[in-house]
């Protein structure tokens, strides 16, 4: 059964229709890459799924739970939305780390705030916080950042910052992790370390949706690729196939432009 189901998402900004009805689905443990030129709507699609924009219509289901329904106009409680938000994680293009916190605190801040809502928080405070910290340390060591836990974001390279932000998103144990062009703000020599981390995550069966410009990487790491053009999915299919053997003219044109 699909863990993510996106149905007929539409979104306009003023008179510009950015998403003209986008549908796709993804099974647990699979990796989907979204490719397409700038302005094709891929980032808007990601932002709609992550509640950073509200879609005009459509339906989004995560793990059998409807997290967005354009037909449902009842007022949502902020808390409910937050709960749903936590099912999915997002890694930003610009990292958006919190500059005044060190690496470890960046990773644990949201988790600790969330833990305060637990009914047993007061009784087991010490234990809960220790567990959170331990888990964060494990994540950071997976990211190869064990020696940086007390550093501040301004002391890290772009690649290190992006790895911290991946650990921060993972700390909340999302069902699906989204990446918004995770390497676009990085120097070419630093993209490799991020791609390596994502590759590792894919191996551990993390369900991921990646908006990317790295065609070769998309082909290698993803199970499926969706090609967006002008607010619609112009072509989709198995990763190897779609890159090696594009069927639509638009995708052929896009791929040849990229390889230039």
């Amino acid at each position: 059964m699909a863990i993510l189901e996106v149905k007929d998402i539409k979104k306009s900004f003023g008179k510009t229709e950015v998403l003209k009805g986008v549908s796709f689905s993804l099974n647990e443990g699979e990796v989907l890459s979204i490719i397409g030129s700038s302005g094709s709507g891929k980032t808007t699609l990601l932002r709609c799924i992550n509640f950073l924009e509200t879609a005009d219509s459509g339906k989004i289901t995560v793990d059998g739970d409807v997290i967005f329904d354009g037909e449902d106009h009842s007022k949502k409680k902020a808390k409910e939305t937050r709960e749903k938000q936590l099912k999915i994680g997002l890694v930003f293009q610009q990292f958006n780390l919190f500059p005044q916190y060190n690496v470890l605190d960046n990773v644990t801040l949201a988790v600790k705030l969330k833990a305060k809502e637990r009914p047993d928080y007061k009784q087991n405070k010490k234990q809960i916080l220790a567990e959170i910290e331990e888990k964060a340390l494990k994540l950071l060591s997976d990211m190869g950042l064990s020696d940086k836990i007390r550093s501040y974001p301004c002391e890290l390279s772009g690649g290190q910052q992006q790895r911290v932000s991946i650990a921060r998103a993972m700390a909340l144990e999302p069902k699906i992790l989204f990446f918004d062009e995770p390497t676009s703000a990085l120097d070419p020599e630093l993209t490799g370390e991020i791609l390596k981390v994502i590759r590792e995550l894919a191996k551990s069966n993390m369900t991921m949706v990646i908006v990317t410009h790295e065609m070769n990487f998309a082909k290698e790491v993803s199970d499926y690729i969706v090609f967006m053009d002008d607010g619609v999915i112009a072509e989709e299919g198995k990763a190897q196939e779609i890159i090696s053997n594009p069927k639509t003219e638009r995708l052929q044109a896009f791929l040849s432009k990229i390889s230039d």
Binding site: N50, F51, L52, A78, R82, E83, Q85, L86, I88, G89, L90, F92, Q94, N96, L97, F98, P99, Q100, L109, A110, L113, K114, Y152, P153, C154, R168, A169, L172
Partner: protein
Amino acid sequence: MFWNVTQSLMEGFGKTLEIFALTLLFALPLGLVIAFGSMSKWKPLKLVSKGLVWVIRGTPLMLQLIVIFYGPGLIGSWASQLESTNPLIQWLATWECFDRFTAVIVSFVINYACYFSEIYRGGIESIPKGQYEAGQVLGMTKSQTFFKVVLLQVIKRIIPPMSNEIITLVKDTSLARTISVYEVIWNSEIFIRTDGLLWPLFYTGLFYLIFNGLLTVVFGRIEKKLSYFKA
């Protein structure tokens, strides 16, 4: 003589410090309220806040002092002359002048709150949207994001303009004499008039210099303390 002058100036500077401290105490939080007002999505509130800031920043503090000192009393006597039964007019008829010191504090608080509010607004609006978005996707509430993530970054950014404004406040307290609240300059001027002495004025300047020097050191410390991160 020196001892006499010192004593008199200390007394005057006590008043100066009192105005300074009370103004900060009330204007710092009130400024935040006005800042949120002028950033509000609710048009009427935004308009009122922006209008207030426009009037207060657009007119001299000296004028505001005089209006706030004499205004309420004049309105009161005008309203009581009307002998109306309208409850609003009757209520206005009960208005009296503030005492001088209260009038000074009220004017200074309103004036400085407006200046602070613009500094706050600038600071808050300069924080990249990504910080709020990161808070949101991490499941934090809006207030958690503001207090745990945004606030310290705002404070770091507004320290330099705030220290500027606060040092100006120290010097602006001398305007209190407009409505006969006697502060340090008034006291030193007495020595010119009665004893023909000029040096107490320079001595007064020293009081300001030392106090502002202290403030500069304090703000420098805060800046240094917040220099461990870049925002």
